[in-house]
């Protein structure tokens, strides 16, 4: 009953001040909504358990290069060694990702597939809905070709035929017997639509010939990831010592599957979490401060209640109701906006991928979000309500009633206000520096020059079937034929063929420079390795800096010419002309060194994303005809609309080989959007956070300062009565503002710079940027503090001293 009357009273009080109620509710909605959004976003992306039975113990074994965890595959031999030596993991399994061409009634289509060990489904405790899994025997080289297909393929290509088992599917030119159909929605491990046996046995292959795989396993109870990674580091060290030539700088690590690709950005993710918490605290402190000033205003009312016998607990609970209402309503509003935000995120993140985003990226209000919502709402109620309630209920009610102690701000109030201001400054500066560093980093990433023109170019990937194109000559011949036929087609201008266009990831083999010594085969430099058809670099707009582009004289398997980027020259030939110098690839050569002569230098091209290691690495280009590939990207200058060009491409491909589909067909500019899209998205989110942080910080600091000075109006009156001139009081207050700025600002600057520094190398933000960002924000916060001191002081000084002395 009492609770109900207190609630009614709190509602009445809040409805009497609609401006205050709306403002505080919006602040809490923004604080709670934004912070939960960030937590929920990253939880879905990297921290959520896999949606399978025992999904919490499922881990991935990936490779790292020179300490950079890039989620790469590991050599099959290394995998076997790890499997034998690592304690604490069970149910080892491995797979390699492959794109497969499947021929059907309506032509060939490319499917996302994995070649996996037989326990791939057992790892996720999932069984096929039709048929069976692979057997060990089917996993051996030479065994019958079998395939397990996904539910969607079964439905779309076979109309859900219940007699699908034992039917034949022609994959990359080879017939496979369908032995199983997986349940609907099952796409483990990488949006997979087809599963074939791995068919690779390390014992039968040399290190150089064996492929790479991604390892999977279940972590045993009581074993920590850190312990496993320590063991793994030792194992990899041993392997490196044993095989320095192939394993120089190669490491491995274990992580959860979602975190595997973001293992190195986890510091950034945790920084973002800290920012989210700080923004929530900022919002709470702001609302708490507003409630505190209301509580101070209502001091007399509270004193009357105490005089009438109200127990302190009752007073606290009564005052807490306002916080409960504001935080709960604000939280619910925040949650509703959050639901919309997560829905939009789902739609936006889909555009980051050519195919589909990782299957666990299901953004929305889930159990984690709801749990967090309750924690945050309770936390904000405590922060915003408990302090004002406790402070006001513990005041000297007798003195308040007597109206005798009005005067200078009490020592305790003064301390509390100073604490609030200093914490506001600290939190604001930390949040703003970290958020701005992220924004700057992301902005830079979106503005990077990839080294190629992208306008009006259509790209498509083509994957040759290894059975049909089993020799380099056939592969080179195909590329030449495709380029020449496309270039002679109406509607298509320049045609470029490359293993990877600027903006795409590629392999980074170890290189040796002629005349340089590499002790014990260690210290080989690496570079992005790309093969291109003659003319492609020039047509793509990759500027020639020195020497020449490739021409027909470079064609031929026995020839060895190479073009390097200026970043390669700066790194390896800083004071000499690189033309005529020779380099070789270490891993690809085998025992026969194949020296490649540098014939030209082009501008730096970014392979992958600009902020990643691959984007910063120099590149070397080889003529396609000297080092042909089964997978290639075709880039076509469009002279007609894209639909017509796509049709032309498909027809041309069909005319050369009806079993070859073109996939990943898109405008070249779109592929860049995929790199910059996530960054733009994160930049927008951080822009929102930055704006929220600036608004919360400046209004918060102004609010607290103004409230503090307002409470010190009598002190100003006293000082003026004692003869202080206005300038003196203004200076005194400004100095006290500066002192608080230093108390909060220096730790804030250090914390912000610390977080900024941790993120800067990851985001490509230099120290100069960090310094500029920090100084600018110090100026903004410093300016806010000074304005927040000056304006209320000026207002108080506009009163006559007698008025200021009577001010309450």
């Amino acid at each position: 009953m009492m609770v109900l009357s207190d609630l009614k009273y709190a509602i009445r009080l809040l409805s009497k001040s609609p401006g205050f109620t709306i403002l505080t509710t919006i602040v809490m909605a923004a604080g709670i909504g934004l912070s939960i959004y960030l937590f929920s976003f990253f939880n879905t992306m990297v921290f959520k358990e896999m949606p399978f039975e025992d999904g919490d113990s499922l881990v991935q074994l990936s490779s790292s290069q020179n300490g950079v965890r890039n989620a790469g595959p590991i050599n099959l031999h290394d995998y076997q060694e790890i499997r034998t030596n690592l304690k604490g993991l069970s149910e080892f399994g491995a797979y390699s990702v492959s794109n497969l061409n499947v021929s059907g009634r309506d032509g060939a289509r490319r499917y996302s597939a994995v070649a996996a060990e037989p326990n791939i489904f057992q790892l996720t405790r999932t069984k096929p809905i039709l048929g069976r899994e692979f057997t060990k025997a089917e996993n051996q080289a030479g065994a019958e070709r079998v395939v397990v297909i996904g539910y969607d393929m079964w439905q779309n290509q076979f109309g859900g035929d219940p007699k699908i088992i034992d039917q034949t599917l022609r994959i990359s030119g080879i017939s496979h017997r369908i032995i199983g159909v997986m349940p609907a929605g099952y796409v483990f491990p990488t949006n997979t639509e087809l599963w074939t046996p791995l068919r690779e046995d390390a014992t039968q292959l040399t290190r150089g010939n064996s492929g790479d795989v991604i390892g999977l396993a279940h972590i045993q109870d009581g074993v920590s990831m850190e312990e496993l990674n320590r063991q793994l580091a030792l194992v990899m060290q041993r392997i490196e010592q044993k095989y320095p030539k192939t394993n120089n700088g190669i490491g491995a690590y274990i992580s959860t599957i979602p975190l595997a690709g973001d293992a190195d950005t986890v510091a950034v993710i945790y920084s973002v979490h800290i920012i989210a918490i700080l923004i929530l605290i900022l919002a709470s402190v702001n609302v708490g401060n507003l409630l505190l000033s209301r509580a101070v205003e209502r001091g007399k009312e509270t004193a009357i209640r105490v005089a009438l016998g109200a127990p302190r607990s009752r007073l606290i609970s009564q005052m807490l109701w306002e916080s409960i209402i504001i935080c709960t309503v604000g939280g619910i509003v925040g949650l509703l906006v959050l639901a919309w935000g997560l829905e939009a995120t789902q739609a936006i993140t889909k555009t980051f991928f050519v195919d589909k985003p990782p299957f666990w990226w299901q953004f929305g209000i889930d159990a984690f979000t709801i749990k967090l919502f309750f924690i945050f709402v309770v936390g904000t109620i405590l922060i915003t309500g408990l302090l004002p309630a406790w402070k006001n209920s513990g005041a000297d009610f007798n003195a308040v009633l007597r109206d005798g102690t009005r005067g200078a701000l009490s020592k305790k109030s003064g301390r509390l206000n100073r604490f609030l201001i200093i914490s506001q400054i600290f939190v604001s500066l930390t949040v703003l520096i970290a958020a701005t560093v992220m924004m700057v980093g992301n902005f830079k990433a979106t503005r990077a020059d990839y080294g190629a023109k992208t306008e009006n170019i259509l790209t498509a990937a083509v994957l040759l079937t290894e059975s049909k194109y089993d020799t380099p000559e056939k592969q080179a011949q195909f590329a030449k034929a495709l380029q020449s036929r496309l270039e002679n087609t109406v509607g298509i201008g320049d045609v470029m063929i490359a293993s990877a266009l600027p903006g795409s990831y590629t392999s980074t083999p170890a290189l040796a420079l002629e005349g340089r010594e590499y002790t014990e085969d260690k210290g080989y430099p690496r570079a992005n390795y790309i093969v291109v058809t003659p003319g492609s670099l020039a047509k793509l707009g990759v500027e020639l800096k020195k020497g020449r582009y490739f021409n027909t004289s470079d064609e031929g398997l026995g020839k060895g010419s190479v073009i390097v980027t200026d970043s390669f020259v700066a790194r390896h030939f800083p004071n000499e002309s690189p033309i005529g110098k020779r380099i070789r690839t270490v891993e690809l050569d085998g025992d026969q060194p194949n020296w490649l002569t540098i014939v030209g230098v082009v501008e730096h091209t970014i392979q992958g994303a600009s902020y990643e290691e691959s984007g910063k690495a120099p590149s070397v280009f080889r003529p396609f005809a000297q080092s042909p590939r089964t997978q290639m990207t075709v880039a076509m200058e469009m002279k007609l609309d894209s639909d017509k060009v796509i049709r032309t491409l498909r027809k041309t491909l069909e005319s050369i080989d009806p079993e070859l589909p073109a996939f990943r067909v898109e405008a070249y500019a779109e592929s860049f959007t995929r790199h910059t899209g996530p960054m733009l998205f994160i930049t927008s989110v951080f822009l929102l956070f930055g704006i929220a942080a600036i608004v919360l910080a400046t209004s918060g600091i102004y609010g607290v300062m103004s409230n503090t000075i307002n409470q010190r109006t009598q002190e100003i009156g006293v000082k003026r009565a004692l003869g202080a001139v206005e300038q003196r009081i203004t200076k005194e207050f400004l100095m006290s503002g500066v002192k608080q700025l230093l108390w909060g600002g220096i730790p804030g600057l250090l914390a912000g710079c610390g977080m900024g520094f941790a993120m800067s190398s990851m985001l490509g933000v230099g120290n100069a940027d960090l310094l500029l960002v920090s100084l600018s924000l110090v100026l903004i916060i410093g300016g806010t503090v000074l304005m927040a001191t000056y304006l209320p002081t000026k207002r108080a000084l506009q009163m006559e001293p007698s008025q200021a002395l009577r001010h309450e």
């Binding site: 005798g404 009598q714 006293v718 000082k719 004692l722 003869g723 206005e726 001293p801 007698s802």
Partner: protein, 254 residues
């Protein structure tokens, strides 16, 4: 005429709000001579505190002429008013108005820090003297919150006299004190007066008012009486006050 310290001529104070015009003081005219001890009395809301604010240059009059120590101060700049408050006037407030963050010595030193002609040693010396006068020198390092109400008011008196002002203006100086402490503070004011201080005190306590040698009664913004208090009147005032307190105490007991 050379003994006149303060001269008010037809001083008016009107407060304006959006709808109401309040005449707080009307045509106030009186003088205060050097060395006088004056009490200004009247019921609540009669304008006595407003009058004290005008006298202390804490507020400006709407009309009229105010002369302090031979200089007209009705229309002087804010800066000049601040200087006069600092050098010529000492304030004692009902609620002490000590700065809680400053210790006793710092509070007393505060008005002296606003003077540019005093060095630190001079200020320290003046603070020491003032605190000795009010018998609070031993509490120099204490903060206001560590003192009783009476002690706080004695510190406030020390702050008021530290700069050797021409006049002490006291606004209900015993209003927040118990009888014993009130007596002690009034004794202190008597002592200062005996040493030559000019005191103008606003009070509605007849007992406190009886300490003064001249009494100005204010009612509805007008001076209704201005007379010297003889011994007999002082005794009557004190007895009236004592009886009133006794009745009050009896009422409280029953």
């Amino acid at each position: 005429m050379s003994d006149v310290l303060i001269k008010l001529e037809k001083v008016k104070k009107i407060f304006y709000t959006e709808e109401v015009e309040t005449h707080a003081l009307s045509n106030i005219t009186f003088t205060i001579n050097k060395g006088e001890y004056i009490s200004i009395s009247g019921p609540s809301g009669c304008g006595k505190s407003t009058l004290l604010s005008l006298l202390g240059l804490l507020d400006t009059s709407t009309e009229g002429k105010y002369t302090l120590a031979g200089h007209e101060v009705s229309n002087i700049s804010k800066k000049e008013r601040a200087r006069i408050r600092n050098e010529e006037i000492g304030f004692i407030f009902q609620s002490f108005n000590l700065i809680s963050d400053l210790d006793v010595e710092e509070n007393v030193e505060l008005p002296l820090t606003y003077r540019s002609n005093l060095d630190k040693n001079q200020r320290k010396e003046m603070v020491k003297k003032a605190l000795e006068k009010v018998d609070m020198a031993h509490r120099g390092k204490h903060f206001p919150s560590q003192l009783s109400g009476g002690q706080q008011q004695r510190v406030a008196v020390a702050r008021a006299i530290a700069g050797n002002p021409s006049i002490l203006l006291a606004d209900e100086p015993t209003g927040n004190l118990d009888t014993k402490n009130a007596e002690a503070v009034m004794d202190l004011l008597d002592k200062l007066h005996a040493e030559g201080a000019t005191i103008c005190m606003v009070t509605h306590d007849p007992r406190s008012a009886s300490r003064a040698e001249r009494r100005i009664d204010v009612l509805d913004g007008l001076v209704v009486a201005d007379k010297k208090m003889n011994i007999a009147e002082k005794v009557v005032a004190m007895e009236t006050s004592n009886e009133a307190k006794a009745v009050e105490a009896e009422g409280a007991l029953s």
